[in-house]
Every structure is written in C-alpha cells, then in structure tokens.
Symmetry: C2
C-alpha cells in the first residue's frame, strides 16, 4: 500500500494531460493523441469518437463541437465503446465531438456550496466530499437552485448513484458561479441534481 501511495502522488504531479481517441470501437481505426483541448474532432478527419483511453489527467467530453451539448467526465482508464463514456440518459447520445482537460481537478481540497433557490438564495449547504445520494446526507429534495465552486472541480448528476445527465462545475469557469440551472450546461433543462462528487487527478 505504501508503494501504491507513492505511485498515486507521482501521477498527481505528472502535469501533462493525455488522451487517445479512436474512430472505431475497441481502439480500432483512425486515432489521435491529444495533450490539450480539441474543439472539433472533424478538423482531424474523424467523424466521431467510438473508443478512447485517458492516460493522464481528467478530461471532459462534449456531445457537440465547441464544447456544447451533453458533458461526460473522463478519468484515467479505458473506454472501449460509447456505453463506457456516456451516462444513462433519456436520449442515447452516441457522439463526442469535442473535449478538453479539467484543469482545476484537485486532490488536495475541493469545496463548493449549493443553494435551494436561484441566485444563491434559500437553504445552503457546503460540500467537501463525494455524495452518491444528497438526500441520504440530509438535502431535502431532488433539486439544486444554484451553486458556487470555491476550489477544485466537481461533477453533478441528475439521479442518485452518479447516474443521468452530468454537469461539470469548475472554480475556473464562470468565476465558479452557477446562478441558475440554465448555467449548469447547454443541455440542462431541469434543476434536478441528486448526486455530486469531486473530480480528482
């Protein structure tokens, strides 16, 4: 276990992000390696991403080009097919056209505040851990009106147990402020959020 911890700390500080994307399932077909943002995968001659490997850092993938549409958090590991990187959604997304590193992902300390109503109004709760069920931890309903990320990066999910729509929230975006559900993401159409966790390298 001592060895594993050493390994873990090395990974945290290794700096450069690295992702390899493929246009066929199971790491077949055309492929590209990236160490920073990709605004539109079509500029690299790919029509879609059907499998990928995250080798370093945490990333966020987007359904559409220019970082629009549904969001998917991508942490180190192997994603052999669509099902591996998308969540469980009402309509099944089978595209990922742009992606970028999550620069503010942080091991040391992640803090955010959530409020019952829009514009940081109503009941308030400070988060500093992972919460697979907000209601189990004492939150009173299945919605969050607004939030502010003080440090680190977080992913919020529509349903308990880290399921459904994902919203990636970062202290470096919007000044960390998300004043109503329409600011959660371009795909947000409800304030329903039932699980939240930190994104760590």
């Amino acid at each position: 276990m001592a060895n594993q911890t050493t390994q873990m700390n090395m990974n945290m500080h290794m700096g450069p992000w690295k992702i390899t994307v493929y246009d066929q399932e199971y790491y077949q077909g055309r492929w590209w390696e990236f160490t920073s943002c990709c605004k539109n995968i079509m500029e690299y001659g790919m029509e879609n991403i059907r499998s990928l490997k995250v080798e370093c850092g945490a990333w966020v993938g987007f359904e559409h080009s220019s970082y629009n549409g549904q969001q998917f958090v991508l942490e180190k590991g192997d994603y052999p097919c669509f099902e591996a990187y998308m969540g469980s959604h009402g309509y099944r997304v089978e595209r990922m056209m742009s992606f970028r590193p999550v620069y503010s992902a942080c091991h040391k300390e992640s803090r955010m505040c959530v409020w019952e109503c829009e514009n940081m109004m109503g009941r308030q709760w400070e988060l500093c851990d992972d919460y697979p069920s907000l209601q189990a931890m004492g939150w009173h309903n299945n919605e969050i009106g607004s939030m502010r990320v003080q440090s680190g990066a977080w992913v919020c999910y529509q349903y308990p147990g880290y399921r459904g729509y994902q919203y990636i929230m970062e202290c470096d975006c919007h000044g960390g402020e998300y004043r109503c559900y329409r600011e959660f993401g371009t795909h947000a159409h409800t304030p329903q959020i039932q699980s939240i966790r930190r994104i760590q390298h």
Copy 2:
C-alpha cells in the same frame, strides 16, 4: 451545516428500509411499499417497475426474479424512469423484477482487498475509500481477479467514473469472498473493473 449533520446521523440509525415501486414512469400506476426483500414483483401483480423512490436505506435491484441478472445499487432518492436506475450498458436493461436491502452498508468503516489474479493471488491492494478511477490511483490495468470484503458493502463498476455493469459486494455474502469474476454476479462475463465505491446509508 451542524443541522445537516444531525439530520444525517438520524437517518443512519433509523433502521427500517423503505422503497416504493410503481409500474408506470413518474410514480404513476399501481404501486407497493416494501420494507424488506421482494423476490418477484409479479407476485404483487406488477409486470415491471418503471419508477421508484428509495425513502430509507440502500437497496439492490435485479434484472430478473430471485435476485438474478444485472444488479443496480439504489440509494435514497427519486428514480422517475428506467434511465434513472439502470446504468449504461451494452444491452439496455428495462426491467427490475426483484430487489432487497443492502444490510451491510456502513457509514463508519468499509474495507476490502482486491487482487490481480483469481483466488487471491498476485498483486494486492487494500481499499477504504471511493475510487472513480482505479488506474488514476495506481492500479496497473483494467481488471480485478478476485476480492474480499472485510467490512461494509461496495459497488464495483466495469468502466471509470461509476459506469457500466455494477457488482454489489457485501461482507455478509459468500463470506465476503469473490474468488473469480464469475462470482462477481450472475451477469459477469469479464473481470473488467475500473471504478469502485462504498455503499453507505
């Protein structure tokens, strides 16, 4: 926050489990409340479960009757449709025919050991936290050969970020021992596991 913590501790010790299941989406149609196991929902005149609310405790749902097939961890919260309780799978499960409480879910201390090979052989790693990416934390590949749950209950996922097939592992089942991937669950057909987390009340 002090109030929230008090609330949280109360919930932990409230004892009885409670789930309400409905045969239509968005909590419509025929419904039943349960406080313990349900081996076959058809015995209650329901052909399927299309929405549910977990009001107390952590539960595990199964695709087939008699606790067989794909497994879904169900924590406190609202699940208005199939997409809310199933994961993201290669073949889309749209049934839940049996379910039971996770009795060994534990807030205080959860510990398990994973091994590289079957029968507790090869490299070993002790877990006591949530791991959205095992590889990011130092595990060397995307598979786990065997495991032993010392305390609490855990859910293991096929892909990083708590996606894909779920395997619920408990210290009270099999004596907490899972000696090869075929013992992970009746639906397991690969040793691929890339994220693991504790189940807590």
